[in-house]
Structures are given as structure tokens and as C-alpha cells.
């Protein structure tokens, strides 16, 4: 099994067997984080640039730890202190960095499509670490890995994705990835934040929180993206809380061994009750742990591939 593309931009570029290959490889990398010496020499001499044009805690730290555990040399560019702040264009920034011969760029950008644009002007590998409202492929892979740790199959699981679907790159990638594995997906959220078109039989729009959660095997709660919605889409946070928060009451409708995921950061008691998190019913921290393994696997597979 091998994967020969140089970049990971969209989950849509991966076949079902590619997804399983990434997840299987990540399982092996997960063990490295449990060793006494949490490091392997595999990527000695590889240089990786992390370009985060948007704030990030989990993804950025997780990519950096993944790189360090693989012995790569990593450089984090703080965009606010770079020449981007002086008005340099994105392509000039990348071409200049490209001249320093990095082996990979990890890109988080507020514009949808920025990593794709960058992948076309550099011969280094590019990994999309979240672009605007478009995609977040490594999050999708780590969600799939986390679900597989608890469920044998994803095929025909009922998976509810609840919240701001429209602005969520996590939702977009998760829907694409989980669909490839045959899940039944139910979407629910404020009308203004639902996708405009759905063209697949396995994706349904639920009419209520109850319909979405009822007998769900997996619930993926999304964050209310205050920075993107700026309250034009929902009347108020209080209203969102009243209608779209996952509470212990509603959760009782779900399947007995339901898994609750959240990509973080969590707005406690906005999209999900703090008590559900406190009681350990979510797998949010498993997602974070698996995030490192998935990113190690992505780097290993992409940088190791024989691509032209």
C-alpha cells in the first residue's frame, strides 16, 4: 500500500483505502508517544515550516510535537511578526521560504483554498491544517481514528454532526471522510448555518435536536465560531444555548454507547453542557492524543512518498 501524492489538501483527494492506510499507520505511531523516549530518527534532516495565519492551540502544538517526535527540524513562523504584516503577498512569502529548501509546509489560513494555492507554487509537501471554511483533513482523519478505537465499523453508524455546519471546515471534512466509509450522517444546527446543498443519500438534515441525537452512535458537536459568524447568523448566544446545546437530557435519546466528539476549543455550556465533559462522557482528549499520531502518519506518508 502506498500513497504517492505530495500534498494533503482535502479529504476528497483520499480514497477509502487511503483513509484506512493513514489510520492504520497512525496506530503504529501512537505507540511512539507511549515510549520512554518519545522520538524516532525517521525524519532527520527534514525541514518543516509551520505557517499558521490563524490562531490555533491544538493543531499547531500537535503538528509541532509530531514533527519533533519524528526528529524533523521545525520552524514556526509567527505571521504577525513576519513580512506578511508588511504587506508581502502570499505567493511571494511562499516563494521566498521555498528558496530556503523546506521539505514541507503546514498551512493554517483564514482563506479557503490557500493551502491548495500554495501546493501549486512549491514542490515541498503541503498539509492543510485548516483553511477558512473549507477543510481540515487531519482533523477528519483523527476523528475517524478515534471512532475506530471504539467502533469496529463506521459503515452504517448513525453519526450526528451538530452546530455551525456552514462555517465548519471540520464538518466539511468529516462529512466527506465519514461518507466514504459508509456512515449515515445527520446534520442539525440553526437554519442559517446549515449547508445550502446536499447531494448525497447518506446525508440527512434533521428537523430537531431530538431527531439528530436519537439513537446516534456518534455525536460530533461543533464550536460556535464567534470569529466567523459575528452574530448575524444567530440571534444570540443565549438562544443558541436554548436550542442547540447538547444536554444530558437530550443525550439520553442517543445509543447507549454513544461517542461524543468535539474538535475543540469547546465553548462550555454553549454547544455542550460542561457536565457532560466533566463526567468523562466525551472522547475529546482521545482526539487530541490521536491528533499527534495522525499528523506523524501524514508526515511520514507524504514525505516518504515517491512523487515527482
Amino acid at each position: 500500500m502506498s500513497y504517492v501524492k505530495k500534498d494533503l489538501i482535502s479529504i476528497n483527494d483520499l480514497s477509502k483505502s487511503d483513509i484506512l492506510y493513514f489510520v492504520e499507520t497512525a496506530k503504529e505511531f501512537k505507540k511512539i508517544s507511549l515510549q520512554d523516549i518519545k522520538k524516532v530518527p525517521t525524519m532527520r534532516g527534514k525541514t518543516i515550516l509551520n505557517l499558521f495565519f490563524e490562531p490555533s492551540t491544538r493543531t499547531k502544538t500537535s503538528f509541532e510535537i509530531a514533527q519533533k517526535r519524528l526528529s524533523a527540524d521545525t520552524i514556526n513562523l509567527s505571521i504577525s511578526q513576519s513580512s506578511v504584516a508588511k504587506g508581502e503577498s502570499l505567493s511571494d512569502t511562499i516563494l521566498n521560504l521555498q528558496a530556503m529548501k523546506p521539505d514541507a509546509f503546514i498551512i493554517r489560513h483564514y482563506e479557503s483554498g490557500a493551502p491548495f494555492f500554495i501546493s501549486n507554487i512549491t514542490n515541498a509537501s503541503v498539509i492543510n491544517a485548516g483553511d477558512g471554511i473549507n477543510e481540515h483533513p487531519t482533523q477528519c482523519l483523527l476523528d475517524i481514528m478515534t471512532i475506530f478505537e471504539h467502533k469496529k465499523e463506521i459503515k452504517s453508524l448513525k453519526i450526528a454532526i451538530i452546530g455551525d455546519i456552514f462555517h465548519s471546515r471540520v464538518a466539511r471534512s468529516d462529512i466527506a471522510g465519514l461518507s466514504k466509509l459508509g456512515a449515515e450522517i445527520y446534520l442539525y444546527g440553526p437554519q442559517t448555518l446549515m449547508p445550502r446543498f446536499i447531494n448525497s443519500d447518506n446525508i440527512k438534515i434533521a428537523g430537531s435536536m431530538e431527531t439528530a441525537v436519537k439513537e446516534a452512535d456518534v455525536i460530533i458537536m461543533l464550536r460556535v465560531q464567534k470569529e466567523r459568524t459575528s452574530f448575524y447568523f444567530i440571534p444570540s448566544i443565549e438562544e443558541y444555548r436554548n436550542y442547540f446545546k447538547l444536554t444530558s437530557e437530550i443525550l439520553k435519546l442517543a445509543s447507549k454507547d454513544v461517542l461524543i466528539l468535539h474538535p475543540g476549543p469547546v465553548n462550555r455550556d454553549v454547544e455542550i453542557s460542561g457536565s457532560i465533559i466533566n463526567s468523562g462522557k466525551t472522547v475529546i482528549l482521545d482526539q487530541v492524543e490521536n491528533g499527534i499520531a495522525i499528523r506523524m502518519a501524514c508526515l511520514y506518508i507524504l514525505l516518504g512518498g515517491r512523487h515527482s
Binding site: 492504520e24 505511531f29 505507540k31 511512539i32 515510549q35 530518527p41 516518504g304
Partner: protein, 175 residues
């Protein structure tokens, strides 16, 4: 064009069993503290052999040593020259101050063993590491020498040596 006659069985069945028995006998004769010994097979070739040696050590000494496996994929000195699926290193115990017997089927350049030692050391600081191989075919590229050898044979570079021990029909062939 591939010449099928190139595949030549060098040893089979009883001959192979004898080489394994001799190798196990050398290991048993050596003054190991068997209660402190871990037998570690190098994946994939060393797995079947290390299981056999483990069994024979148990029969010969009564000690049921711990056993583990190392996968060297991530420790290669040419990480990306050969694209391999990453497999597990299985070392579910503390190896600090243990005596380790590394086991592989064939030793050639010595690079695999170098990588295996590198992998081992990530799990702790063993008291000692010894190396047992079934076939030493020469051709070392780095200064590594097995402590216990089943059979030394000279095989030209153009051939591969394949060892099949897992099935009933055991054989060693050059390809």
C-alpha cells in the same frame, strides 16, 4: 529476463532444523543469566526464529524468558529509500538492566542490526545486547558481528537469501 533456475535451495528441512538446534545449543551453553534474559526478534525475518529459540531455551534450561519484537522501519539509515508499512515494536516491559538477545534470520550489511539496537535503546538501557543469527552471509558494511551464528556461508552480492521457518516445510534459498 528472470532465470528461474537462479532460485536455489541451499538447506532444507532437517538441515535447517540442525542449524537451528546448533544455534540454540550455543546460546544455551553460553553463561547467560536466563532469568534476566529477553529474546527479541527483528521483524519480519527474525520473528519465527526468535520464537523457536525461545522454545528451545525453555526446553533446555527451564527458563521461560520474556520475548519481544522490534520493527526497524522508523530507524533505518535510509528512511525513505524503501517505502515500508510501519509495523509495531512490541516491548511491553522494562528493559533497563536486562540482557537482550537480538535474533535475526540473515545478517548481511549489518545495518538492520544497527537500526534494531537504536530502536531497543529507546525503551531503556539494557545491561547487555548480544546478537544471534541463523545465516551469516558476509558482506558487512558496518562493524557489527554476531555473537552466535548458525551457519556462515559466502553468497555473492547479486543474490538474496530467503529463510522460511514458519511453515512445516523449512528451507533456506538464494534468489
Amino acid at each position: 529476463m528472470i532465470d528461474k533456475k537462479l532460485n536455489e535451495i541451499i538447506f532444507k528441512n532437517d538441515e535447517v532444523n540442525k542449524i537451528i538446534d546448533d544455534l540454540a545449543a550455543k546460546i544455551i551453553k553460553f553463561k547467560f543469566n536466563f532469568s534476566n534474559l529477553i529474546i527479541v526478534g527483528i521483524k519480519e525475518g527474525g520473528v519465527a526464529l526468535s520464537d523457536l529459540i525461545h522454545k528451545k531455551v525453555k526446553e533446555g534450561t527451564g527458563f521461560d524468558c520474556l520475548s519481544g519484537y522490534v520493527d526497524i522501519t522508523l530507524y533505518r539509515d535510509d528512511s525513505f529509500a524503501v517505502k515500508k508499512t510501519v509495523k509495531s515494536t512490541e516491548m511491553p516491559f522494562n528493559i533497563n538492566d536486562k540482557d537482550i538477545l537480538l535474533v535475526d534470520d540473515v545478517i548481511y550489511s549489518g545495518r538492520t542490526v544497527r537500526a534494531a539496537i537504536d530502536d531497543l535503546i529507546c525503551f531503556g538501557r539494557p545491561k547487555s545486547v548480544k546478537l544471534a543469527v541463523l545465516i551469516d552471509r558476509g558482506g558487512r558494511e558496518i562493524p557489527i558481528c554476531p555473537d552466535f551464528t548458525g551457519k556462515k556461508i559466502k553468497i555473492p552480492n547479486k543474490y538474496d537469501v530467503k529463510v522460511e521457518l514458519a511453515s512445516k516445510n523449512k528451507f533456506i534459498e538464494k534468489i
